[in-house]
């Protein structure tokens, strides 16, 4: 697969997982698939980054995991947002807004400082 799709920064991935799980509990592949679709196939979520991130988030108490059954009758581990995770999502969202508006601000400066 020719790939111009980018991998996500670690912190960003966790924020997106939180957001995904805020809608409904989901298994690993579903999370990855949903993020890819929601981003318009811009982001690629690999197993190598997704599962370590899920383990880390579980350790921090943001998500809970339980085995369930998919609509295709397949056993899968479902992840669910905990209240701590819900609060964390707000924290992440706020800090992302701050960071992205700051980055926007920098990118929107018309003249380089050297020219002033």
């Amino acid at each position: 697969m020719a790939d111009d799709r980018g991998e996500l920064l670690q912190g960003t991935l966790e924020m997106l997982v939180l957001k995904t799980l805020a809608l409904e509990p989901m298994h690993g592949w579903g999370i990855a698939n949903r993020i890819e679709r929601m981003s318009g196939n811009v982001f690629l979520v690999t197993q190598g980054s997704l599962y370590p991130a899920l383990v880390r988030m579980k350790r921090r108490g943001w998500v809970r995991a339980a085995w369930g059954v998919t609509e295709n009758n397949r056993r899968a581990r479902y992840y669910e947002l905990s209240p701590v995770g819900r609060a964390q999502l707000e924290v992440e969202r706020a800090s992302w807004r701050r960071a992205s508006s700051a980055i926007d601000g920098i990118l929107n400066i018309r003249f380089a400082l050297g020219e002033a």
């Binding site: 190598g48 599962y51 880390r56 899968a76 701590v84």
Partner: protein, 888 residues
């Protein structure tokens, strides 16, 4: 964010690792399948879809590794891996592991036990409030200011009332064990009594937990002796209260019958209270101090005095006041013209004589600890060199050196922990052994307990030692080029190298330390031999002794006189008994009743300066002289005719006879002692006053004549033709026939009774012997290890030599020579150490020069023999190398 879920999650990962791994695998497989299904619905073939999904998702094993990292348990899991690897390696060399663990156990256990003992006895303060202010007061003589005598009741009363430096001063009667019998019928038993002055509990600053202590008026004749007064009182111990009075809370005012006489219970002491000098006591009774107001008693020394200094008063200032008072008292009491007194810190007084024994013990254990560390170092170095090849190989295969070092560290720590656990067991055993051997002769030792701080200290030391010397080879291996090490180890036929020389020096130090301990033990052994050979003037073999007290309530003086004689006759009829007698104190067990003697007839009678002398007084019954093996030199011993109706008569010892009646026969002369003027009817052989053979002069009184003076508790001697301990039952039955309520107290052989005073030396000897044996074993082990290793490294060289025609004997000689050279250097260094040791040893030696040539030569030979044995096996192994296999 709380860390609780984090810790829980990590713990769970650690505990349920297998399940987590299984679940992870399943989760990842599901993921791949879902992705494949997804691709398939987009129109790809099965195989292609699956291939693509795997590519898209990355390698499964890699993902697993990443997830494992994310779990945050990697370090712990690696640690567990190291541990199981270490256990596996150690299991493969059980000999090495066992020796290291055993060595560590001895080091940790021995050190902890001995340090605990020293701490308990020497360092911890006495368990009384402001115990630093407690002093012991001894009387002495102007001519012998160093002597430490008991205090006369007259002087005690003066000190107590006149000394302003004393907050209070208590008198107790530790002069000899005072006992009482309690209970009835079969339950009769002897308890320990301590007569004390009324202020005893104030001086100790410990009051009865229930009730109250004594009043001053209780001191007026309420003794356990004959002097009957109204209302004898008693304070009992917590233990006696529990056992005998069922912990009755309303016990005060009730009656306790002791030795047939009722006592009113005044109070119960708190649990665990012990007298600093007498130790565990069952009951305290008021001391009879009426004699303290009788000036004639100023020369009668029998009280133990403990005083409490006023707060802030230094002992020197109190001593100065006491000196002034002594001068005044010398003028006041003409019969104590030369009496002075000295103060000593109570703690120093109690532990003083045993501190040297403990110092030696401490020195010995210190040396053993050095040995242990050296041995561990040696073993670790040997093992490290043996494994150079293994490390080189693993390093060549890509193991990082930090990982290798961590693994060795794990191995050392595993050994250290195992050694520590074994060490704690050894410490427990060693401590109960120390208490069992020493508590009779070393004060305060009975309260020995394991000090956790010391345990930690020993633990750290041994661990440090193991880790440090475990690391040296690891670091060395990490530094060398793997290729070089591999080549070196497999090819070189001869060895030499720095590590070998370091190990040899370690063995030299081991031999030196072991030699020093060997010399110490040898010197004590020689002392012991000397003591046993000192003539005491008695026949101590084949004699059973026990103490026998007749309760004054049921036996008046006439009955007592009659009882002791009748018992002697009856016991003498037991088959196998040669003679039976009683004495107020056994010879060889210390001075007792040292009274003034006035010469009334003979050449010195008119000489004012020389007619007063002193002698130890003994009251005897039955055939005492025969039973104790004391020969009658002149005149006769006592017979049934020498009873209360006959004129007063005494028998004296030969040296006293010579001193008092020079040039004339002592028989028929007269002397005055113990308040009566008597005729000398016989002269007997001299006996020693202690077990070191110090001579003393004696006056013997017949109990028949002297029973009225006080309730003499006579120690009975049953001389037999065979083993005295086998007669114990028969003697007990004979005693029970006469009076079933009497207690046969402390039955022991005469030999052992005399030996009791030497218990401290026995204690030191046993400890030193143990340490010397351990040291010898360790150094032999070290020597053996180093030589064996050397032989192993040089097996190729030996093979070549033998192939070239070298004699087996020559090869064996080479190895033996190497080992014995090391031993010789070690002994040389050890000799210097023994020189230093000798000064420390003088105090505990008896008639033995600390540089006794016999002991030194013996130690050298012994060491050499042990070393030769340790060298022989490796030497023998060197010759068993098959030249062909060595050359291939």
């Amino acid at each position: 964010m709380s860390i609780a879920p984090d810790v829980v999650a990590r713990l769970r990962s650690l505990l349920f690792r297998a399940r987590e791994e299984r679940e992870l695998a399943e989760e990842l497989r599901t993921h791949v399948e879902m992705e494949a299904e997804h691709q398939r619905t987009n129109g790809l073939t099965d195989v292609e879809a699956r291939r693509r999904s795997v590519i898209a998702l990355g390698g499964v094993e890699q993902v697993k590794e990443d997830v494992r990292d994310a779990r945050g348990t990697r370090l712990m899991q690696d640690g567990a891996g190291d541990l199981s690897y270490a256990l596996r390696t150690l299991r493969r060399s059980p000999g090495f592991a066992a020796v290291v663990i055993l060595t560590l156990a001895i080091g940790i256990g021995g050190t902890t036990a001995v340090f605990s003992a020293v701490d308990t006895v020497l360092l911890q303060p006495l368990p009384y409030q402001q115990s630093g202010a407690l002093v012991r007061l001894y009387q002495s003589n102007v001519s012998a200011p160093e002597s430490r005598n008991f205090v006369s009741p007259v002087h005690y009363v003066e000190y107590r009332t006149q000394m302003s430096s004393f907050e209070s001063a208590a008198a107790i009667l530790t002069y000899d064990d005072t006992g009482a019998d309690i209970g009835t019928g079969d339950n009769v038993r002897r308890i320990r009594l301590l007569p004390t002055s009324a202020n005893y509990f104030d001086v100790m600053r410990v009051q009865p937990a229930i009730g109250h202590g004594f009043r001053l008026e209780d001191e007026d004749g309420t003794g356990v002796e004959d002097n009957v007064t109204a209302g004898p009182v008693v304070v009992i111990s917590h233990e006696l209260w529990k056992q005998q009075l069922q912990s009755d809370p309303a016990v005060v005012g009730k009656t306790l019958v002791m030795s047939g006489r009722p006592y009113v219970i005044d109070g119960v002491m708190p649990a665990g209270f012990k007298d600093p000098i007498a130790g565990a006591i069952d009951a305290w009774v008021p001391i009879d101090l009426l004699q303290g107001h009788d000036p004639r008693e100023a020369g009668n020394h029998y009280l133990t005095v403990i005083a409490r200094l006023r707060a802030g008063t230094p002992i020197a200032r109190a001593q100065a006041e006491l000196d002034g008072l002594s001068v005044r008292l010398q003028q006041q009491y003409p019969n104590a013209k030369t009496a002075t007194a000295h103060l000593y810190s109570l703690k120093e007084d109690i532990v003083g004589s045993s501190s040297r024994a403990l110092e030696i013990m401490l020195g010995a254990v210190g040396l053993v600890l050095i040995l242990v560390c050296v041995n561990i170092a040696n073993l670790m170095l040997v093992r490290g060199s043996e494994r150079t090849r293994e490390f080189a190989l693993r390093s060549a295969l890509g193991a990082r050196s930090s990982r290798l070092i961590r693994q060795l560290l794990t191995e050392s720590l595993t050994l250290a922990v195992a050694g520590a656990v074994a060490g704690m067991i050894v410490a427990r055993l060693a401590m109960s052994a120390i208490v069992a051997i020493g508590s009779g002769s070393i004060p305060r030792l009975a309260s020995l307990s394991l000090d956790p701080r010391l345990l930690i200290f020993a633990l750290l030391l041994a661990t440090l030692c193991a880790v440090l010397f475990g690391l040296i080879p690891a670091v060395r291996a990490a530094r060398t080029q793997p290729g070089e090490a591999l080549r070196d180890q497999s090819r070189s036929a001869t060895s030499g190298g720095r590590s070998m020389r370091l190990r040899e020096w370690l063995v030299v130090s081991q031999v030196a330390v072991a030699f020093v301990l060997l010399v110490g033990a040898g010197l004590l052994l020689a002392s012991f031999q000397q003591i046993r050979q000192v003539p005491l003037g008695v026949k101590a073999e084949g004699v059973l002794t026990f103490e026998l007290n007749l309760p004054a309530a049921r036996y008046d003086s006439t009955a007592r006189a009659q009882f002791y004689e009748a018992f002697a006759q009856q016991a003498a009829a037991i088959p196998g008994v040669r003679a039976v007698g009683g004495v107020s104190r056994l010879p060889g067990t210390g001075a007792y009743h040292s009274w003034g003697v006035t010469i009334q007839t003979g050449p010195l009678a008119g000489d004012e300066k020389r007619r007063n002398t002193g002698a130890d007084n003994r009251v005897i019954s039955g055939e005492y002289f025969k039973a104790a093996g004391i020969p009658i030199i002149e005149g006769r011993g006592f017979t049934a005719a020498d009873d209360a109706t006959a004129p007063d008569r005494v028998v004296i010892s030969k040296s006293l006879a010579t001193a008092m009646y020079p040039g004339v026969s002592a028989v028929g002369q007269r002397l005055r002692t113990g308040g009566r003027s008597s005729e000398v009817i016989g002269v007997v052989g001299d006996v020693a006053v202690d077990n070191e053979g110090h001579p003393a002069q004696y006056v013997y009184h017949a109990h028949r004549q002297f029973a009225g003076d006080r309730n003499w508790a006579l120690t009975q001697l049953i001389a037999t033709t065979g083993d005295p301990t086998r007669l114990e039952g028969a003697v007990r039955r004979t005693l029970a026939l006469r009076d079933p309520q009497l207690v046969m107290f402390r039955p022991v052989t005469f030999d052992a009774a005399i030996g009791r005073g030497a218990a401290q030396r026995v204690f030191t000897l046993k400890i030193l012997l143990t340490f010397a044996a351990v040291a010898l074993a360790l150094s032999a082990l070290g020597l053996f290890g180093v030589l064996s290793y050397g032989v192993k490294l040089r097996s190729r060289e030996f093979g070549i030599r033998m192939a070239l025609g070298a004699e087996r004997n020559a090869i064996r000689g080479m190895v033996m020579r190497q080992g014995l050279t090391v031993t010789a250097v070690g002994i040389g260094v050890g000799l210097l150490g023994a020189l230093g040791l000798s000064r420390l040893m003088v105090a505990v030696l008896f008639h033995v020069n600390p540089l006794d040539p016999l002991v030194l030569v013996g130690a050298v030979l012994f060491m050499a023999v042990i070393a030769a044995i340790a060298c022989f096996l490796p030497a023998h192994r060197a010759t068993s190398v098959d030249p062909r296999s060595a050359l291939q």
